[in-house]
């Protein structure tokens, strides 16, 4: 397997790239403004006529130890013995998220499917339903990773493109086949719970209406203060909500806000907010968030085998909420992950509106928020051409 990393910047255009002209897969991430015009896709298509080209808008791009908002980062992947298949669907309304996931699942499903990497619209999709739809078809034993596209801290529009110019309301996924490919994954948060536990007393799907019988938005606004209220929904990411089923207290999930309805005093989250579950606000400590990122990378690498034997790539998908909170310190988490993965392994990624990865405790594929997820893609040594 061979990986070439390169990037695009306004003053310089595309940087020099390696020898992988005949790449099988190109991953690229950039700001919504940088991608929506379609020029970047067309340039990539020219460079890699036969590759599957998959990319999305983000809340910041990751390239090795750098985080950038202006550049478009890309990686061209050439596999020795791993067939690929690309699937793409449009989501008209969030309620059809599961059906969309099922359609993607059906398009990719095969006995030798070894892993799925998915990129989804970040604002018009119920991520939990999407993941459930895909996993329901391909089976829970197939690792499913990826993330929801971002739009900086603006939460206006996200785009995803698969072999075409990126568009809104799109979900796309690439399937890896055969027994040569090795997919590793890890996911961790590092957030600290604080304040009392609260009960989700009223919700509808991923719309949270009440906590402990009071409007959910009231609680958030009280904690954010007047300054930060103006920054909603982005500022709500400063206080993620960890929720858990009281029947399975060890299985908890962190949810992040996608939008708020000031009239209805409700908040829409990236995934389901089941009524009857228990929620608790969370607060980040920079050191522990960075340690969480390192932990995610460690989990992903543990599945890769002896370090150095497998030249591959690590795809980092971290939550926009972490970046908003950590500010310039966010580089610490990229460094912490890089230290675990190894600086010789190319790292590419983005800040997202939601991360997709198997749960570190239960192994069930889920939508996460406020986490760092790391997906490592490699091929077995014997598979190198």
């Amino acid at each position: 397997m061979h990986v070439d990393q390169f990037e695009w910047s306004k003053p310089k255009g595309w940087s020099a790239r390696g020898t992988a002209d005949n790449a099988d897969l190109v991953l690229y991430f950039g700001s919504r403004e940088g991608l929506a015009c379609g020029a970047r896709y067309r340039e990539l298509r020219e460079m890699f006529p036969s590759a599957h080209i998959l990319g999305c808008s983000t809340g910041g791009q990751i390239r090795n130890h750098d985080i950038t908002d202006d550049e478009v980062v890309a990686a061209a992947l050439k596999f020795a013995a791993t067939p690929l298949r690309l699937a793409c669907e449009q989501v008209k309304v969030p309620e059809s998220s599961r059906a969309c996931g099922e359609a993607i699942g059906r398009a990719l499903h095969a006995p030798d499917l070894a892993g799925v990497f998915v990129l989804s619209d970040g604002l018009n999709v119920n991520g939990s339903e999407l993941v459930a739809g895909i996993a329901g078809v391909v089976g829970s034993n197939v690792p499913l990773t990826g993330g929801l596209a971002g739009d900086g801290a603006k939460f206006e529009e996200t785009v995803v493109g698969a072999n075409c110019a990126p568009r809104s309301r799109t979900v796309a996924a690439v399937g890896f086949y055969g027994n040569a490919v090795r997919i590793g994954h890890g996911s961790a948060g590092g957030w600290d719970e604080f304040g009392p536990r609260r009960h989700i007393t009223k919700s509808r799907g991923n719309v949270l209406l009440e906590l402990d019988g009071k409007p959910a938005l009231d609680l958030y606004e009280r904690y954010l203060g007047e300054e930060d209220i103006k920054g909603l929904p982005g500022t709500a990411l400063l206080f993620p909500l960890r929720i858990r089923d009281p029947e399975r207290p060890d299985h908890d999930i962190v949810r992040t806000v996608l939008s708020v309805d000031r009239e209805a005093r409700s908040m829409t989250f990236a995934g389901d907010m089941p009524q009857g579950w228990v929620g608790q606000l969370m607060r980040g400590n920079f050191d522990r968030l960075s340690a969480g990122a390192g932990n995610a990378a460690q989990q992903a690498c543990a599945k890769l085998g002896p370090h150095g034997e497998n030249a591959g790539i690590a795809v980092l998908v971290s939550c926009i909420g972490r970046r908003l909170l950590m500010g310039q310190h966010v580089a610490d988490e990229i460094e912490a992950a890089g230290a675990e993965i190894g600086t010789d392994v190319p790292r590419l990624g983005f800040y997202s509106y939601g991360e997709i990865s198997p749960h570190s405790a239960s192994g069930v594929c889920e939508l996460h928020n406020q986490t760092m997820t790391v997906t490592t893609i490699a091929e077995a040594v014997g598979g190198i051409v």
Binding site: G195, Y223, L224, G225, F239, R283, L325, G327, Q328
Partner: protein
């Protein structure tokens, strides 16, 4: 160098490698800004959290206070419920130590609160009870058995008898924590009541003798030994004239009489025999293990003699007699019901053949009973089948030898059996309640027939005591008169002394009503019953009929003649007519005329004849009178 600053420095370097101070300043300043904002947020969130937790704490304190109040209330309610239970309650934990014990429990077993306080063991408690005599037995063994019982079943029940005579029902129920709760109930009264009820179910209330239920059980048991070769007798008896005692002296005296009879019967039998009261004045005796029938007849004689002796009750002297029927096992039957039925049949026979005697069951009694039942069936159909006829016997005025009236007499001509005498079917009709219907029929028939007769001739109809007591006698008489058009003055109703012996006040009232209607009332068969003169005073009869036995007796003795004379004289003084019944000879006719009787009835003049024949007699009389004139 600080890692972040190093990174900022790196970022601030231009393409030449020199640090752009403005750019560095912006990065550092932004970080300061961010840090300030972040600290503000942190402060804010921490103080809010404290506020929220404080609020929550207050809420919780409120809840705890409220719950504590509720708990205290529940505890008071629980305590009130516990102390107001009629049962004793004691609860133990898994190590058999008292958790709670109510006042009632302590009272039941005379325990002080210290001895039954929480924490004490069951064993300690039993030691105290052993000392005060409310527990007997081995405390270790009891504890062990109790715990084993609870381990085996959720609930164990036992009934214990205390030394002082109390009966206690104990229910132990296992609890989820391994302990158990025991409820103790003093069921002494309930037990006694149950025993009493069980006794009452099988004994007669008045005499405390076994009733029919227990009799049957005892007989079944006794018959088991008959199958092993022994013999027994069943004596069935009833009291003659008991009803008269009951009616005249009242039920309390009647009941006392029954108790005395029971006592005398007890004196006649052995311990192994059973005496039962099986009906109003009916008793049955199982004479067990007898050598032969003579044992039964000896017992019957002893009983008869014992019963016959006068009874002194509340200043009254009562005399009753008894008739006894006897059946033997295995000879007559080995079935309890058959034996009782056979003894009853023998009793019926004994009564029929003159009271105050005993009879053994004989198979033909059964046959006779069947015959009687057959007759009963025939009788029930006879009225509808028009098998009855009315015959009339003239009553002659002794002054001029002319017919004054005719007595209507019922005749039953059965298509197969022929003429059945009234002495057979009238008692049967009375017994089965058909007499009222028959009586109604004969009154109507007689009234109708009399309408064909010369106007001076009256019609006399006999009334049975049952008819007189029945409430519809008045309407029957009124309807018969109305339907026939007969003048009430032509109707005579004959009653016997037996009518006056029963239910006197109501009877007299009925007779007065009939008389007010214009109907004549005659005292029939005078001299055969008690012949009490008070009967004659109780109601102004217009006529006395002197029983045929006195007329017949005149031939053989002076006593009858004296009686006839006395009665005739009495009647004359009371302005009553006297009819001598059963006059068969010219001599008798002359005698009764001489003795002062005003009328006679008998074969001398005419036997009872059919309606056309009696009308012929009227015609003859008219003719002879015309001829004489």
């Amino acid at each position: 160098m600080n890692k972040l600053f190093a990174r900022q420095l790196e970022k601030a370097k231009g393409s030449t490698g020199e640090v752009d101070l403005d750019a560095l300043g912006r990065l550092v300043s932004a970080e300061y800004e961010q840090t300030t904002v972040d600290r503000r947020r942190t402060d804010r969130s921490i103080s809010l959290m404290i506020e929220e937790l404080d609020e929550l704490n207050r809420e919780l304190e409120g809840v705890v206070k409220e719950r504590t109040g509720q708990l205290r209330q529940r505890e008071q309610e629980f305590h009130a419920a516990l102390e107001n239970m009629s049962q004793g309650l004691i609860m133990f934990d898994a190590s058999a130590r008292i958790v709670v014990c109510n006042e009632r429990y302590m009272q039941m077993y005379a325990l002080s609160p210290e001895t039954a306080q929480p924490g004490q063991t069951l064993h300690d408690l039993l030691d105290h009870r052993l000392a005060n005599g409310t527990f007997t037995g081995d405390a270790d063994q009891y504890t062990e058995q109790l715990r084993a019982g609870i381990a085996r079943d959720d609930t164990s029940r036992l009934i214990t008898e205390l030394g002082d005579g109390r009966t206690i029902s104990v229910v132990n129920r296992r609890m989820a924590n391994g302990g158990w709760v025991a409820t103790h109930e003093d069921i002494t009264e309930r037990r006694d009541a149950e025993k009493k009820i069980a006794h009452m179910a099988r004994h007669d209330v008045v005499t405390d003798l076994p009733n029919r239920v227990l009799l049957r059980e005892r007989l079944t048991e006794a018959l088991a030994s008959v199958r092993r070769g022994s013999r027994l007798a069943v004596l069935y008896l009833d009291l003659d004239r008991f009803k008269a005692v009951n009616d005249t002296l009242g039920h309390p005296v009647g009941d006392e009489l029954l108790r005395m009879v029971a006592q005398r019967l007890r004196g006649c039998v052995r311990q192994v025999d059973t005496i039962a009261r099986v009906g109003g004045d009916e008793f049955a005796i199982i004479q067990a293990d007898i050598e032969g029938p003579q044992c039964a007849s000896q017992l019957a004689c002893r009983i008869r003699d014992a019963i016959r002796a006068p009874y002194e009750i509340d200043g009254h002297t009562a005399i009753v007699d008894t008739s006894i029927g006897i059946s033997l096992s295995p000879n007559d039957s080995v079935q309890p019901d058959t034996l009782i039925k056979n003894a009853d049949m023998a009793l019926y026979r004994a009564k029929a053949e003159g009271r105050g005697t005993y009879r053994f069951f004989e198979p033909e009694m059964d046959a006779r009973m069947h015959a009687r039942r057959k007759l009963e069936l025939a009788l029930r159909g006879a009225l509808a089948n028009r098998e009855f006829e009315v015959h009339y016997q003239p009553i002659v005025n002794l002054a001029d030898n002319t017919i004054a009236s005719c007595e209507a007499l019922m005749r039953w001509i059965h298509p197969d059996l022929g003429m059945i005498p009234p002495s057979e079917f009238i008692p049967l009709a009375e017994e089965i309640g058909l007499i009222v219907q028959l009586g109604e029929w004969i009154i109507r028939q007689a009234c109708n027939d009399a309408m064909q007769w010369p106007e001076h001739i009256r019609i006399a109809v006999n009334l049975s005591p049952i008819q007189v007591m029945s409430t519809n006698l008045m309407p029957v008489v009124v309807n018969a008169l109305a339907a026939s058009g007969l003048s009430p003055g032509r109707l005579e109703l004959e009653i016997t002394e037996a009518v006056l012996m029963q239910n006197t006040e109501a009877t007299i009232a009925t007779l007065h009503r009939l008389r007010n209607l214009g109907v004549h009332i005659t005292m029939d068969d005078f001299g055969t019953g008690y012949s009490s003169l008070s009967y004659l005073r109780s109601f102004p009869f217009e006529k006395i009929k002197i029983d045929r036995s006195f007329v017949k007796g005149m031939d053989s003795g002076e006593e009858s003649e004296a009686i006839v004379r006395a009665v005739a004289g009495l009647a004359q003084n009371l302005h009553m007519t006297t009819t001598a019944e059963g006059v068969e000879t010219e001599r008798q006719m002359e005698q009764v005329r001489t003795l002062g009787c005003t009328e006679m009835q008998g074969f001398l003049f005419s036997p009872p004849v059919r309606a056309p024949d009696v009308e012929r007699l009227f015609a003859q009389e008219r003719k002879s009178r015309t001829g004489a004139a």
